[in-house]
Structure formats: C-alpha cells, structure tokens
Symmetry: C2
Subunit: 395 residues, 2 copies
C-alpha cells in the first residue's frame, strides 16, 4: 500500500488534481456537491497531503524552530511549552533545537535552519555576540528572546531585568532587610541576564540608601541548584552574613534554601530569599519561594507575533519588545513578615492574598504555615497570567 497521492484521489473521484487540491486547502469556489464527492474519496483512501510537496510548491513549510540552550532547565521547558502552544494555535509545527548554550551549538542552529525547512526561527542566544549573530543571519526570519545582545536590525523580546531586580530588592528592603546578597552570577564572563539583574540590584540598593558591597555577590560554579548550594555554602562557612538574598534564578534559590537550612538559618526568619523565573517548583519548596515571574506566556506570544510579522515583511526595522513581570511573594520573602511586627509596605507594593485551596489543610496544621502565595503587582508591562493549559500525570 503505497502512499496515497492527490492524483489517486482525483482518479477515484473522477476529477482533476487541482479540484482535489482546492478541496484540501479549503478554497472558496468549490461547489458543495463537488466538495462532498472529493471528501468522500479522500476519506475512503485515507489521503494525507504531503507537506514536502506543498512546501516545495509554496515556498513555505508551516514549521517554526525554537532554539534554546537546554530543555532541562525549567524556564526553557516552560518557554518551549508556551511557544509550542501558540505556534500550534496558529497552524505551525515546532522544530526544537538545543544549542547547549555554546557558540558552536548556536552557530550550527543558525546555519542549518536556513535549509528551507523552517519558515522562521526564535532563538535564545547565550554565547554568541551580536556581531557574530549578524554574520550568521541570512534570510530566514529570526526573532531573539532573552536579554542577550542581538543584532540591532533584528527583533527581540525580553522582560525588563533591571527594573524587575530593582523591584525585588525593594521588596526585600520593605520587609526590613539591609544586608542583601546576590547569588548565582557567573564567575568568568558575566552573562547578560546576570549583568542586568546585578545592575537592578545595585540600583535597588542605592534607592534604599544601602551600600553596594562586592563581598555580597556570590557567584556559582555550575549553573544548577547544586552548584549554587555549594557556592553559597562555602560563602556562608567563610563568614558571609546576609539577611536577604536575590538569586539569579530559581535554581540558584533552591540551592540557597538548602545551603541555608542545612546550616540552621531560618528562611525567611534569618534570611529572606527571592528567586527568578517563577518555575512551577517555586510554589512547592519549603518554604515556598518568592520569585520574579516573567510573563512567559506573553513572551512566547509576542515572539510569535513578531516572527509572523517579519515573515510577512522581511525588510521592516527591528523591534524591541518588553514583556511584563511580577513578583510572586511566597513564604521565602513574604510581603509582610508574619513572625514580627508588620513593617510598612512599600507604597508601590500591594499585598493580595490569593485563595489557594490549601487553607483547610493549613488551618488544621500542627504548626501554622504562612500563606501560600502573595502577589505584588508590578508597574511594568501588563501581565497576562499563564493559564493552566491542561495535561496531567507524569512518566
């Protein structure tokens, strides 16, 4: 049983291939009778259009590519999820490419994806400079996501890292923290996100009248939770004293929680901790993690929009889009401190206790827990919450 082709259907239905093609593509000017007849033949033969043929004829493939450093990082998995959803909704399939965050990986993606198999590419670069990216760019429409520098003529979507870090710092200050560290940046070459977040951290300190102290910057080795745990652990053992910690990402924050708790520091009692990315786990650590939440859904949606628009008009000038964020206050740095006299909240911060459904469990707990989730609004771009898109179960 060979593949069923347009011609087979046409023969079966006794019409021309073009008519079948018209039916398949939903061309308007096909009479109902004809449409019905052709559809019957399609169903009988189980015809499926061959996308390679279509692609060759139209010059479009309806496939987009997303290139991220590593799918195993929850943030990228979330991004891929969102992008897959929005792409599918617009009739595109998704080719996934991992760059490994290396120059070769990013180069190979940009080089190979020009092969006419994808209509456009969304990439989160991490290793290549803007100049290199520009050199590799050809005529496949391209959108950059994330904060790393990109060619000025290209489109980019990112959140405002500086402002968000500044807000996170204000949050810590508002709950009385004065010795606030930054955990998780890179030792040798500062990544762009770290750079921007540290910049916001500095501005936040400044605005609060606190002094910047290089000793409170704790780099990590490996870019994972274990690396952060070890780095912070060593620093604490060496005498680091902080009462607040802004972490480069939630992975670092999770490592920080461990390092702190293993040493008997209470979180947030002794040290308040804020992470970044608001990964799903942030709600389930002990204590749950206050985190800077980028509007990942908006990020994915805007990236797709920019990409489609660029596919439409490759010559349009490059645009830079900023998506919203918010600070999701949970137990590791609650908006108010339940264990002490409430401090005056910062004027720009609005505490808003959300119903979480866990109140029953908590109310009868042997020891009381703090609220599951408190949100503070952000003054950045509008935030559209990531709706739960279904799916259950695991392996």
């Amino acid at each position: 049983m060979d593949r069923v082709t347009l011609r087979d259907v046409a023969t079966r239905a006794g019409v021309s291939v073009m008519t079948v093609s018209n039916v398949v593509r939903g061309y308007r000017h096909v009479s109902p009778r004809m449409r019905e007849r052709v559809q019957a033949a399609i169903d009988e033969l189980g015809y499926r259009p061959n996308l390679s043929g279509r692609s060759l004829a139209t010059g479009r493939s309806s496939v987009l590519a997303l290139a991220v450093p590593d799918l195993r990082r929850p943030y990228f998995a979330e991004l891929a999820h969102v992008f897959a959803r929005v792409s599918t909704a617009r009739g595109y399939r998704l080719l996934l490419e991992e760059t490994g965050g290396t120059p070769e990986g990013e180069r190979s993606v940009l080089r190979d994806l020009e092969a006419g198999i994808v209509d456009g590419v969304v990439i989160q670069p991490q290793a290549l400079t803007a100049a290199e990216l520009e050199g590799l760019r050809r005529d496949t429409p391209l959108v950059f996501v994330g904060e790393d520098p990109r060619p000025p003529t290209a489109d980019q979507v990112a959140m405002d890292n500086v402002v968000a870090a500044e807000e996170a710092l204000a949050h810590l200050v508002a709950i009385g923290r004065r010795r606030i560290g930054f955990l998780g940046h890179e030792i040798d070459s500062l990544s762009r996100p770290s750079e921007l977040r540290i910049e916001g951290y500095r501005r936040g300190l400044e605005r609060a009248g606190l002094l910047f102290d290089e000793a409170l910057l704790v780099p990590r080795g490996q870019g994972d939770a274990v690396g952060a745990e070890q780095a912070l652990g060593s620093a604490l053992d060496a005498g680091l004293a902080v009462d607040g910690l802004l972490c480069r990402d939630d992975l670092a924050a999770v490592g920080a929680l461990r390092a702190l708790q293993l040493r008997g520091f209470a979180v947030p009692g002794d040290v308040a901790v804020i992470g970044w990315d608001d990964i799903e786990f942030a709600a389930s650590t002990v204590p749950s993690l206050t985190s800077v939440a980028p509007d990942t859904r908006a990020l994915g949606e805007r990236a797709l929009e920019l990409l489609l628009e660029r596919m439409d008009d490759p010559e349009r000038p490059g645009r830079q889009v900023t998506v919203g964020h918010r600070i999701v206050a949970r137990e590791s740095a609650p908006a108010r401190q339940p264990w002490s006299v409430p401090t005056e909240p910062s004027s720009s911060v609005i505490a808003d206790r959300t119903a979480s459904g866990s109140s029953t469990a908590e109310s009868s707990a042997r020891r009381s827990a703090t609220g599951r989730e408190l949100r503070t609004t952000s003054h950045a771009a509008t935030f559209s919450p990531v709706a739960d898109l279904g799916a259950s179960g695991s392996s």
Copy 2:
C-alpha cells in the same frame, strides 16, 4: 537576493546540476579537481540545499517527531532533551509535539504526523487505548515509550515499574518502615504507570509480610506538586498515619515533603519519602529526595534505535524493550538511618556513599546534614548513567 539553488551553483561552476548534487551529498566518484571547483562555487554563493526538495525527491525528511504530554513536567523535558541529543547525533532533526495527555491531542498528533514531514515518531501515549492507537496508526514508523498499553505489533520502550516499585518498598522496609503509603495515583481512571507502581507496592508489602491497606493509598487531584500537597495534607488532617511514603512521581514527593513539614512531621524521622523519576530537583529539596531513577538516557537511545530499525524494515515484529533503573538514596529515605541504630539492610541493597563535593560545606554546618546521595544498585537491566551534556545558565 533570491534563494540560491543547485542550478545557480551549477551555472556558476560551469557544470551540470547533478555534479553539484553529487558534491553536496558527498558522492564518491567525483574527481578532486571537480569537487574543489564546485565547492568554491557553493561557498561563493552561500548555497544551502533545500530540504523540501530533497525530501520530495528522496521520500525521506531526516526529521523525527517526539510527542509527549507536557514539556513542563521535568521528566518529559529530560526525555525530550535526551532524545534531541541522540537524534541530532544521528543526523535527524526533532519536531516536538505536545499532546496535553488528552485523547484529542494524541489523536491529532498521530493523524497529522503522517503528513510525510517526519520519517518516524516516538510517542508517549497517556490517554488512548491500545486499540485506538492501532486504529490511528498508518505507515509512519512509530515507537512507544512509557508503560501505557500500545498495539502489540508496535515497538515499545519502558522501565520495569513493578520491579522498581517493589525495590523502593524494600528500601523503605529495610530502614524500618511498616506503615507505608502510596501517594499520587489518579482518582477516577488509574493510569498505567500508577497501576504498575501500585502493583509493585503491593508485592513489596507482601514480600515484607505487611498487609495491604486501601486507606494508605492517597490519590491526588491535579497531577502536580500542589495537588499532591493538598491531597496528602487533607489525608493527614483526617488522621492518616504513615511512616513511609512511596510517591507516584517526584512532583508528588515534593508536594508530600511540604505537606508533611508544614504539619511538623520530620522527614525522614517521622516519615520516609521516596519519589519517582529522579528529576534534577530531587537532589536539592530539603531534605533531598530519594527517588526511583529510570535510565532516561537509555530510554531515549533505545527508542531511537528501535525507530531507525523499524524505518529500515517496517514489517518486523513489534518489540518490547525494558531499560534499567536504580534507586537513588538521598536524605528523605537514606539507605541507613543516621538518627537511630542502623537496621540490617536488605540483602539486595548495597549502600554506596558517593562523593558529592558538598562535604566541606556540610562539615562546618551549624547543624549536621545527612549525606547528599547514597545509591543502591538495582538488579534490573544495566544502567548507563546520564552524562552531563553541558549547557549552563538559565533564562
């Protein structure tokens, strides 16, 4: 600047298109001089072969598809990562498809991916029955991963859930647990993984001379950590008493840790907890999580091998491959109990303290922590550890 085509290169080099094609594909019988000349033209023009054209001519696309329920679940992200790596290593690109774990999602994937755009599909079904899957199957080579039932004529790769659950239970028994619960299965329709894991749980109880008690099965609502936390929380508040807990997956285990700790139960002191999947976070929770670790790398590799073999010979009989697993013992259920007189370990369990690099940090801790990671070997299929494949940084 239009796309450069084979013809352009041929004209430029003054040869036929076939010769250019031969050079591009690395055909043997091309003289060195000719190869050089053509290559020069290719480089000058920046020619990239159009994969749609190639695909149409050859009937193959060098694209494989992976369909999983939801990329946001760490297990699937890991699987996608592994599969992307091995596919790339074999010269294939990866199309990613999320089914949402719904019948429609799985149906649409199976239906659409027959469109000649992919050479083969690896799918982890979750909602469809074997009969439905068989009905949807056409001639695109297909490999199933995971435990869910699949058509008997198809290939499948999975770990041995029953044996692994039995081992996990033996582990809990070996450290003195007698009232062991199972957390996280589905309420209405039991998923196949849950079913098998509960079966292993029962066998483990039996083998240990313990009675199965329906009351110790705690289903969860939402298939995430929060759902598990709420479910276990309610059960505990209603009087559930356990000293050990086998969780359906690590997400459930993470939720369990929170539910237990918020109620003042010590883990593992009062309740030992074992998760499933050994996601990256398992090493960084407090306490770190003992978990059943499937050999995901082997899973991905074997799935690809089966797929390639089936692409080679679509008529070969369906095969069922079992990949290895191990129980990674961490703090939530250590191989020995550091807080009490060591119990006699089960004969099949070999404790093996691994160097983790965190000993320095821990040795100077204000309060001592238990070892980071203890591994118990499994008697199941050979385990090939998941090598770290690089990549660093986050958002």
